[in-house]
Chain length 319, copies 2
């Protein structure tokens, strides 16, 4: 059925589903989390665990095959902290999936296992899209629980509740819930001249250009955040804003909100503290960059990055 | 100029701009915040202050007129905590705007002033849209700074930095930044039967129905959060998702992300712990509710609520 409300994308694939870390297919059953859910999940047949060394994932490897799924008994030599275990959800066949921090020193773990951070996991495609999505959920919750061991109001220790989704202060009973940081990332388009705006930070890989981005501020709408960040970083004035896609970005617990922005001005004045360069790209330059990375000296963010999605979809829109 | 990319709304008014708390017009100058910005702002001619008693706003009143803007010297009897002052930004004419917590007891303040919480400010339209937006920014930052006086990692006191937008631990130097909690709120539409799905929580005003809603979980896209929350609360399966509008919701620091969802199933099974009722509404029932609140026994969320916007815009879309 065609629909004025929902026919926004051509082809009809949800752009968010084509970003890295978005493939989590676990059934979370968030409404059923309670004080026993972790213990029950750990004792259930077929439960599997993602093991975290700090914020990084531990992987078993057997010749070429990398496997991040541990059965509970396989964790022993990694020194698992089962008291800090987090229930991620349930696989289609009902098997529980958990995330567990381990405290064996990284150098000991690396004798028999591989340790990888989130960027490496996705850029080098070390695990499937589904597992990347489960990693994103686990990494965010491990980081949040670690960063909130003490109460922000009174300084007393906090206790983990309902499988890692709530913490309660042992002193003043203050309750907190997992944190997700919204960031806007935007491809600003000058439709009249058929150009789009990209910048590069000093910390980028050589030659790489990407979309401008920044945290949503307290008391801001998505659209106002897009306009403010673009103005602050490039002095370009943005009019209309169109939401395009979102992406979990677990470093440590961000949600990227990808938008197109309508450029209303042309003269760039970049924020020199943030950007090393900022300029307009033609459709042809963008196509060269995406299809033949590096040929003209500039390269895009890796496939799977939401900035890559915005750049690719702008090209396809015009085609 | 007509545009395939940006012509999404008819009439061409950004839906986010028609929600309450979205009217903040201050220039934030976020890239220029430093250790002196509050002191400089306070000493500048024409600086004005929003005074917070806990999480509520203090208002001067003179017969009918309510005024929340204090000059620095006017705060004395409220016992202002200038050490915890937050720089909100700058008014069009360059005058700084700040938020300052005050510690005089509420009962003393109320002898000469009015104190109002966020819901009352917006529902009773006590202040302008612009000031509501400034309140949203201030309330979020006041709450976040108050809730993070101690370090979550080590329990030592944290210090406020750069005008209230960063806190640094006096012990371990851990740094934290303001928190904004993304919530999805969705009007789920059955296009074939021309119906939409609304529910009511037990704590709602009598007869009020609204959109389903819930916090975005760690490692989730906006679209997946819409599908999961709808499934958990009503058992209705959602296919495509269309972003419509966002809204700052400063109780204490939420960002509402309003979407339309495409219903793929019909049989409702409500989450009895969350909802007192959940049912399909016809276009006519929705029109009656919005235009003639209460006439048929049900009423919508107040104007300015993003749920009201989604309901009204669904009606207009079909018109």
């Amino acid at each position: 059925m065609t629909s004025a409300l929902f026919d926004l994308h051509a082809p009809h694939i949800e752009p968010s589903s084509m970003t890295a870390f978005a493939g989590n297919g676990l059934e979370r059953r968030s409404e059923n989390r309670d004080e026993n859910c972790v213990e029950e999940a750990l004792s259930k047949q077929g439960s599997h665990i993602l093991a975290f060394s700090g914020r990084n994932l531990v992987l078993k490897h057997d010749r070429q095959v990398l496997d991040p799924l541990f059965a509970p008994y396989e964790l022993a030599e990694l020194k698992p902290e089962f008291d800090d275990a987090i229930l991620l959800g349930y696989y289609k066949n009902g098997e529980p999936r958990l995330a567990v921090p381990v405290r064996a020193p990284a150098e000991d773990i690396e004798k028999h296992y591989k340790i990888a951070d989130g960027r490496t996991l996705y850029r080098d495609q070390l695990i499937s899209e589904e597992l990347l999505g489960e990693f994103a959920q686990g990494a965010a919750l491990i980081a949040w629980n670690f960063d909130n061991r003490f109460c922000g109001r009174c300084g007393k220790p906090m206790e983990m509740k309902i499988g890692g989704y709530k913490r309660v202060c042992s002193g003043c009973e203050h309750m907190i819930f997992p944190r997700t940081d919204p960031v806007v990332i935007m491809l600003v388009v000058d439709e009249e001249r058929d150009l789009c705006l990209l910048g590069r930070g000093a910390h980028f890989a050589p030659g790489m250009y990407s979309c401008l981005a920044g945290f949503v501020e307290p008391g801001e709408t998505i659209e106002n955040a897009v306009r403010r960040e673009t103005r602050e970083e490039s002095a370009i004035k943005v009019g209309r804003v169109r939401y395009h896609a979102s992406q979990p970005w677990p470093m440590p617990h961000t949600m990227m909100i990808g938008c197109f922005g309508e450029a209303l001005s042309r003269d760039i004045k970049r924020d020199e503290a943030e950007l090393e360069d900022c300029r307009w790209f033609t459709r042809q330059e963008m196509a060269d960059m995406l299809d033949n990375s590096g040929a003209n000296g500039s390269s895009p963010p890796p496939k799977g990055a939401i900035a890559h999605r915005l750049m690719r979809d702008w090209l396809e829109w015009g085609a």
